[in-house]
């Protein structure tokens, strides 16, 4: 059974001048138990808004979200937060500098349960051990930890309510390479031990390729391509996916290396997206019809693609 199912999700923001930013525009995907869904795209593609909508930090405009078969509308926020939790990008900024490690980790517990201080401290030290922190650091403040340790604190906090799903919003992009590997290994270990499911948001394709089972490529709030990792990364269909792979210099396939360059370097304004296929203004292989027809999301070569070609 899927632990998270999103159907035709839309999150729109009204902005000044009566316009609307369609930050998440008709997204559908499912996340299976103990699996990882990677979400990639450039900044401004709606990745973060998607995370916020799932966490109820933003209100969805339309569509439905199912947490383990139960629709979000039928769940209290409290239930929701015990089901899904989030790890933030900036490990220092996401921890309150005036709180000690144990208070940070057990904050969700103090809000959602009646646990005593003693129970909280006990739980905090268990979790610190689980994420590879020394338990004697329990009374320290965030600035006394290194970057990688802070991210471990953030992960420990997200686990305190025993959620089934974790949203990881760029969890390693603020970290040094050697520390990145430590955190990625930790995430894999935790997933295995606790049967967690991850939504892994990142701009780093090699990291997503490494950690995810399925990947969703987003462009201006819409899905470009969505499928299993080996399809997305080894035989991409959508020109945008190919462009991303080419820019990241990671693929050894000749098709990617020889894929033509982008026409326009700039991402179009989300306030004023292009007609037809949103990517046609930059797409090196676009045809005339791409600027006129909005491509439907279709199954092509065993994955969902929205491209006319």
């Amino acid at each position: 059974m899927s632990v998270l199912k999103v159907e035709n999700l839309k999150t729109f923001y009204p902005v000044k001048g009566g316009k609307v930013v369609k930050a998440v525009n008709n997204l559908s995907f499912t996340l299976e138990e103990n699996q990882t869904l990677g979400i990639v795209g450039e900044s401004g593609c709606g990745k973060s808004t998607l995370a916020k909508t799932l966490m109820a930090l933003e209100e969805k405009t339309a569509g439905s979200i199912f947490f383990g078969g139960k629709e979000s509308a039928q769940m209290s926020l409290k239930e929701r937060y015990q089901y899904i939790q989030m790890v933030f990008q900036d490990p220092l900024d996401s921890l309150n500098p005036r709180k000690k490690a144990w208070e940070i980790i057990t904050d969700p517990m103090m809000i959602n349960t009646n646990a005593s201080k003693k129970e909280c401290i006990k739980k905090a030290s268990e979790l610190m051990e689980l994420v590879g922190l020394r338990t004697e650091q329990i009374y320290k403040y965030p600035h006394m930890f290194s970057g990688g340790q802070r991210q471990r604190l953030g992960i420990a906090r997200s686990l305190v309510l025993n959620p089934k799903v974790l949203i990881l919003d760029e969890p390693v992009s603020a970290l040094d390479v050697s520390i990145q590997a430590q955190i990625l290994n930790l995430l894999k270990k935790l997933q295995k031990e606790m049967k967690l499911s991850y939504i892994f948001i990142s701009h780093d394709l090699s990291v997503v390729n490494y950690i995810a089972d399925k990947t969703l490529v987003m462009y201006l709030g819409k899905v470009s391509e969505y499928g299993h990792n080996d399809q997305i990364f080894n035989s991409p269909y959508h020109p945008y996916t190919k462009t991303l792979l080419k820019s990241a210099h990671i693929s050894s396939s000749n098709e990617i290396k020889e894929f033509p360059k982008l026409i326009d370097t700039e991402l179009p304004s989300p306030l004023n997206p292009p007609s037809g296929c949103f990517f046609h203004t930059r797409c090196p292989v676009a045809k005339d019809e791409c600027s006129k027809i909005i491509p439907p999301v279709e199954i092509k070569r065993e994955r969902e693609v929205s491209c006319l070609l």
Binding site: Q89, D107, P108, Y139
Partner: protein
């Protein structure tokens, strides 16, 4: 560079030590702290150290000069006033009054101002507009004029003077806290606390407020000096604390007719006000530097 190694001893002791090492770099601030400490000790120990009672009248010795001038006596070290009261004793008791008045003012204005600032900054929108327009109105008047208006409405006296000056001091707290809240509420840890279900009051009090503490403490010391100064001014105008309470402002105004014949009567209370306000301002500036993480290397 890296604070991991010396982080064994944490808790208040460690934080205080850290704070002191930054604070003590600023000599002016340490001097200010010294002035304030002396002032507080004098205020607390007033009955023990003052040679006479504050309102005790010595009819035989009117307007005696300080002991070092001709005609002065060591019984009245700083001389006597026009009613024959010992100036030194009145100054010492005056410290008590100033401290009490100043602290009361700061407590009231901090509580009200901070609450308004938190609410206004956190909720934004209409709530913010209403609160900030109210604050704008308060700020549209020169502060002493506003205090005079308030006192003339509710009548003179110590309590009313405290209320008046507290109201005048509210805007600076509200604006400061609001600006701080606007900055802190965008930080990820506030978002994070929402993702595990924290409500607005918890977020304001437990997440945001502790991060405004540093600036708030600084503003409190500066507010204290402003409060003392405004109270003295009201006292001088006869609208604040009423005689015969030994208040520095009143002492100043009472001595006005004798400014040429007995200059010490005006000078001494003036110097006291100056010393305390200067001390508080120096201390406040030092606190600001020591507590501001942006200035830390």
């Amino acid at each position: 560079m890296n604070s991991n190694s010396e982080a064994q001893n944490i808790g208040m002791g460690y934080l205080l030590k850290e704070f002191w090492s930054h604070f003590s770099e600023n000599k002016g601030a340490v001097f200010g702290l010294g002035l304030i400490t002396t002032f507080i000790i004098i205020a607390i120990l007033a009955p023990l150290i003052s040679p006479h009672g504050a309102s005790e009248v010595f009819p035989g010795s009117l307007r005696l000069p300080p002991f070092w001038s001709e005609g002065g006596s060591t019984e009245f070290l700083l001389g006597t006033d026009d009613l024959g009261r010992d100036v030194l004793s009145r100054l010492i008791y005056g410290a008590r009054v100033s401290l009490f008045v100043g602290v009361s003012i700061v407590i009231i204005s901090t509580l009200v101002g901070t609450t308004l600032g938190l609410v206004s900054g956190y909720f934004g929108g209409k709530v913010d507009s209403v609160i900030m327009r109210f604050i704008d109105i308060l700020m549209a008047y020169p502060s002493i004029l506003l205090a005079i208006i308030v006192v003339s409405v509710i009548g003179p006296g110590m309590t009313n003077a405290i209320i008046a000056v507290a109201i005048v001091n509210i805007p600076s707290f509200t604006r400061l806290v609001r600006a701080n809240v606007l900055e802190v509420k965008e930080r990820q840890f506030v978002q994070a606390s929402k993702t595990f279900g924290a409500g607005p009051i918890r977020i304001m009090v437990k997440e945001i407020l502790p991060n405004c503490m540093a600036t708030l403490i600084v503003q409190t010391t500066l507010g204290l000096s402003e409060g003392i100064l405004s109270t003295a001014a009201l006292g001088f105008l006869g609208l604040g604390v009423q005689p015969p309470t030994p208040e520095w402002g009143i002492m100043l105004s009472d001595a006005r007719p004798y400014i040429e014949s007995s200059p010490w009567l005006v000078t001494l209370p003036g110097l006291c006000i100056l010393a305390v306000v200067l001390g508080l301002n120096l201390f406040g500036d030092g606190l600001r530097d020591a507590l501001d993480p942006k200035l830390k290397r």
